[in-house]
Symmetry: C2
Subunit: 271 residues, 2 copies
Amino acid sequence: MSDAPIGVFDSGVGGLTVLRELLAALPCERFVYLGDTARLPYGTKSAETVARYACQAATALVGRGVKYLVVACNTASSVGLPAIRERVPGVPVIGVIEPGAQAACAASRSGHIAVIATEGTVRGGAYQQAILRCRRDARVSARAAPLFVALAEEGMCDGTIAREVARHYLEPLFGRPAGETPDTLVLGCTHFPLLAGPIRAVVGSDVAIVDSAATTARAVREALRAAGIERRSGNGSVTFLATDGRERFARVGGHFLGRDIDPREVELIDL
Amino acid sequence: MSDAPIGVFDSGVGGLTVLRELLAALPCERFVYLGDTARLPYGTKSAETVARYACQAATALVGRGVKYLVVACNTASSVGLPAIRERVPGVPVIGVIEPGAQAACAASRSGHIAVIATEGTVRGGAYQQAILRCRRDARVSARAAPLFVALAEEGMCDGTIAREVARHYLEPLFGRPAGETPDTLVLGCTHFPLLAGPIRAVVGSDVAIVDSAATTARAVREALRAAGIERRSGNGSVTFLATDGRERFARVGGHFLGRDIDPREVELIDL
């Protein structure tokens, strides 16, 4: 069982920021990463459609014999987890919302936490609820920041446009008198860590910026250890699956994973 | 036959700019507009996937008894027309590329024509080929401008960010010595007419800006007349079909159509 792979699922390549942390935390594990590139993005789609697509992806990964399933997509984690768990009852499933909310609550002194995410994640309210479950005195300001997704996909992660877009989304939250601004910002979409530079320039150095990737990786490691199914020796590996566009997956995905991906490493599948 | 509806298909709401011109040109016709909102955007997807999705949409519209099919999506027109025509052999099909190319060739004095479009449309090369078929001395400079799609969807069609993005994409084409710049710009994506303001500000007043919407509408009218199947009396109508997200279709689509859409007007279908 410990030799079985870990499935990681995302709407596209954004979840590779989560895979990157998983690889660092669990170097002996075998990973199967599935990006639903034929139907991305999920962030602008309805909860029902996202849940349906996510269940199909989960079924495909369970068909590859995974021992654990990581939903690396914030939108799918936000609106699809109950449906996914129902669909694959034999496999433990973790999303990125709970770990991200816990990281935010640990980082915040004042309890005033801002969340930027896709339209679907904000509308679903999962971050807001997870933060309040973890810390009842929290005050959450959530805002959709959809242009960040397009900027990260285009690799336009610094420069004038990225700075102006960061100001557009973040000044309404952070450009206020001291005492009224959040002290913590959750990057509630796997694309957003690539824009950490311009985001930091707007929010200033006193705000804690947290994302779910590292926290999720730690949570997965703890869960595998608790269940006695961590792979503790041997070389790790990654298999890439995508539903469309090998070349684009490799080209854009490389930025997110932090290493080059060869298009020949990417296997196309139908969902 | 003349009472049968005209099918209009797009990946989402962008094609409503084409529908708007069709409604003006053909006020007595009944239209069925289908936006594949569950799987948009097409512009970043592979040619094979776009063609497959477009064929499913064409089949659904033919199932509604359409007499004519307009592929209002530039990307689907660019890479999917042969496959669509094969799938629905009994129904005439028009795309937006040929009419747009003809409009550009008519507008250009120098024959140097720029095209901005999605990644898929530019990679497919259909505009480049259609322009050269229409005018053998033409010189075509094509460039993908994917952020324009996100800006138009967000309604961010003027202001600093839209201007900076327009400069980013267009200065490499138009910020050159006189004599080396195109005299005509094709807006090769249905989203781009919404950004005409900032685009005009970069290219200057001497460049002809053309899009496919009005030319396509005229071509459809001519074809219906030639076939003797134009509906010449009675009130026109529009039926909206979408594969996801009634509320978003109505909210975002209203900008593109130029009139309010009530979410209850939108019928959800599966493809």
